[in-house]
């Protein structure tokens, strides 16, 4: 293995290139993995293409996503590499008589290098974009590109998780050995004549947040709905007890889909299942459906209800009012996230919004990370402590 690395054969050189390429694609390839890859290849007695690829796949990928993507990247890499090598050899032949063309070839080879992202300047750029983090927290969700979205989601999931695991003051019996529960230990020893034979431990009970998420995916929310599905996906991963619904003209329970699939697939399935994806909205009747179908099974005084919507309701206000009232009464807290709240001249004027306002504990704007963070941090607080008008 050492030999292989030192000798810098063409193969090992190419493997290093491949590792760099994969690193750019988000694979966590460090020097250790590179060394592993090289020693793995040195073990294969017959270097058949397929085995070669399998071995690299097993060593270099570290999760399901990478494992599945590996083949594609692998072929892409060798295709580009062989193209580049072709042009390079050609270049050597023709350099003598056609200088200008040779130069062109060189540009092609350079562009390959660029494509492989090997130029240090590119790497520096990537680093600097991460430090634009401050700006990102204030950026409106509707203008996010895919990469920023990923970063944002990681932040949100972390945030959501930190809120999810709050310890209660109550204690429960624990398998972990941290604090001895003397009362129980002694009580247990009574049965054995007072000899303490088994120690009972206790730990603080976890306060589990129960969440119900109702997400509007109608036309007026189009700009934000992809983001919101991202958001509920992040939430779903962070909280154990969470139920998610999406609605436009009808209500759909999507908890299981989000639980079982990767984000993109989940998003597709949800778009499939919800026939009026990005159609008109009847918030009132959807909420009514929720109340009649799930009030008793999902709502209780420990549950926080999140509604993600802009409040543009095309139904009767009275329906909405009754539904909101029922939700407010049976839940611990109702939080309404309105993405329009970010604009300077926003006031909750939409009729739907006005109707719902008395039954909302917190109306928060959810147009950027900053505002969303505020709303999430308020989750564990009690109802009376929540500031009713913190939306601006």
């Amino acid at each position: 293995m050492q030999n292989l690395i030192e000798r810098q054969t063409e193969l090992s050189g190419n493997i290093v290139l491949l590792c760099r390429f994969l690193r750019k694609k988000g694979f966590p390839v460090s020097v250790i993995e590179e060394a592993d890859a090289l020693s793995a290849l040195s073990l294969l007695s017959v270097r058949r293409e397929k085995e070669f690829k399998e071995a690299l796949k097993i060593v270099l990928s570290k999760n399901q996503y990478q494992f599945k993507k590996f083949d594609g990247y692998y072929h892409e890499f060798w295709d580009q590499l062989s193209k580049a090598v072709d042009s390079k050899t050609k270049e050597n032949l023709e350099r003598k008589n056609k200088r200008s063309e040779a130069k062109q070839q060189e540009i092609r080879f350079d562009s390959l290098k660029n494509w492989l992202n090997l130029k240090p300047s590119e790497e520096e750029k990537a680093v600097s974009s991460y430090s634009d983090f401050e700006a990102l927290t204030k950026k409106n969700f509707s203008d996010l590109n895919e990469e920023e979205m990923q970063l944002m989601m990681r932040l949100l999931e972390k945030l959501a998780r930190s809120v999810a695991h709050q310890k209660s003051r109550l204690r429960k019996v624990s398998k972990k050995r941290n604090k001895i529960d003397l009362k129980r230990t002694i009580r247990l020893s009574m049965r054995k004549g007072g000899d303490i034979q088994k120690l009972v431990y206790s730990e603080r009970k976890e306060k589990k947040l129960k969440l119900v998420l109702l997400c509007d995916v109608s036309k007026s929310m189009d700009l934000y709905s992809r983001f919101f599905v991202h958001l509920i996906y992040a939430f779903q991963n962070a909280y154990d007890k969470i139920e998610t619904f999406v609605f436009s003209t009808a209500l759909h329970r999507v908890t299981a889909i989000l639980d079982n699939y990767e984000f993109d697939k989940a998003f597709d399935i949800i778009s499939d299942r919800v026939p009026h994806w990005s159609g008109g909205t009847t918030i009132g009747s959807c909420l009514q459906d929720f109340v009649s179908g799930y009030e008793h099974s999902l709502l209780d005084k420990k549950t926080i209800v999140f509604i993600l919507s802009d409040g543009w309701d095309t139904g009767e206000p009275i329906v909405m009012k009754d539904a909101m009232k029922a939700i407010y009464k049976t839940s611990r807290k109702v939080i309404w996230l309105n993405p329009l709240g970010g604009s300077a001249n926003f006031s909750p004027d939409a009729l739907g919004m006005k109707t719902a306002l008395p039954y909302i504990d917190l109306l928060a704007s959810a147009h950027n990370l900053e505002s969303l963070k505020q709303a999430i941090l308020l989750l564990p607080k009690k109802r009376s402590l929540v500031n009713h008008t913190s939306y601006l």
């Binding site: 073990l43 085995e51 097993i58 060593v59 570290k62 399901q64 088994k198």
Partner: protein, 297 residues
């Protein structure tokens, strides 16, 4: 064991009745050669745990299994003093009047040590296969504890001293993706993802595991399962369900599927009432795709 060839592993897997594609044999091969733990992920019932069992069998060594669960901690994974025995022993010795130091030495000796899977694996006389099953069910603290053991291969027991591994056990970790594992753990392992098998592979598995199955029935079962997995179910059935179902149908002496039997035996395959209802509704269509309905209609 170190000079094993890739071809031999493929042959061993085959002999043990484990049908897998090239990547499974390759990952076992590399894990043994590079002496790295192997992390296997995949949906339920595709034979993740089976890999470890087959590996131990093929290498003629013991399989030590550590089943993870929430709240699993180092005492359950490493060692524990047999407190009750120590107490009894002390009581018995009290009458004899032994000196305190000798007593202490005796009760903190190996005799009163309960070896849990990891310590067992470390002190085993022959290089064992250590299966750490469903690692994602354990807590994060346990995961970091595991990292420590995986890098040092020694365990320190304050009363006895440090025990170093006589052989580095071959580690297999499995997970169901109920929780995202830490990057640090992933980086120490080789990775293998096992997915549902394609039709040919599944048929081969059924034929190996249930040799008495009728050729036609086997084929129908596998087509049906393939179509069933296309439905968006809550709990998609794995290969173990296919095998169970094939066994069930064989024990009923059937040579082909029909609608009534499928409906009656669906409980072998599906374990969720919503899936059950969903599948019943789509059954005619499913069977049509399997090529069963024409015979009945």
């Amino acid at each position: 064991m170190k000079d094993i060839e890739l071809g031999q592993i493929q042959k061993m897997l085959h002999q043990q009745g484990y049908i897998g594609d090239g990547s499974i044999a390759m990952s076992i091969f590399l894990a043994m050669k590079l002496e790295k733990p192997l992390l296997i992920e995949g949906p339920a019932g595709v034979g993740k745990t089976e890999v470890a069992k087959v590996m131990a069998k093929a290498l003629h060594t013991d399989l030590i299994r550590l089943q993870c669960y929430e709240g699993l901690d180092s005492t359950h994974a490493l060692y524990e003093w047999n407190y009750q025995h120590q107490l009894l022993y002390l009581k018995m010795q009290e009458e004899k009047g032994q000196n305190a130091k000798a007593l202490e030495e005796t009760i903190f000796s190996e005799r009163f040590l309960l070896k849990r899977p990891i310590l067992q694996a470390i002190t085993h006389s022959k290089k064992p296969v250590l299966l750490i099953d469903e690692i994602d069910r354990s807590d994060e603290e346990f995961e970091s504890f595991l990292l420590e053991v995986l890098s040092d291969w020694q365990v320190t027991i304050p009363e006895i001293g440090t025990i170093s591994a006589t052989h580095k056990p071959q580690i297999i970790l499995t997970g169901n993706r109920t929780r995202e594992l830490s990057e640090a753990l992933r980086r120490r392992c080789l990775y293998l993802w096992i997915d549902y098998p394609d039709f040919e592979k599944e048929l081969a598995i059924v034929k190996t595991k249930v040799p008495e199955v009728d050729a036609k029935l086997g084929q129908q079962i596998c087509v049906f399962m393939k179509e069933l997995r296309q439905l968006k179910l809550e709990k998609t059935p794995g290969i173990s369900e296919t095998i169970d179902w094939a066994r069930a149908l064989v024990s009923m002496h059937l040579t082909h599927l029909d609608k009534q039997t499928v409906e009656d035996t669906l409980g072998v395959v599906l374990k969720d009432w919503q899936d059950m209802r969903h599948t019943r509704d789509a059954l005619s269509e499913l069977l049509e795709k399997t090529g069963v309905v024409s015979r009945i209609g």
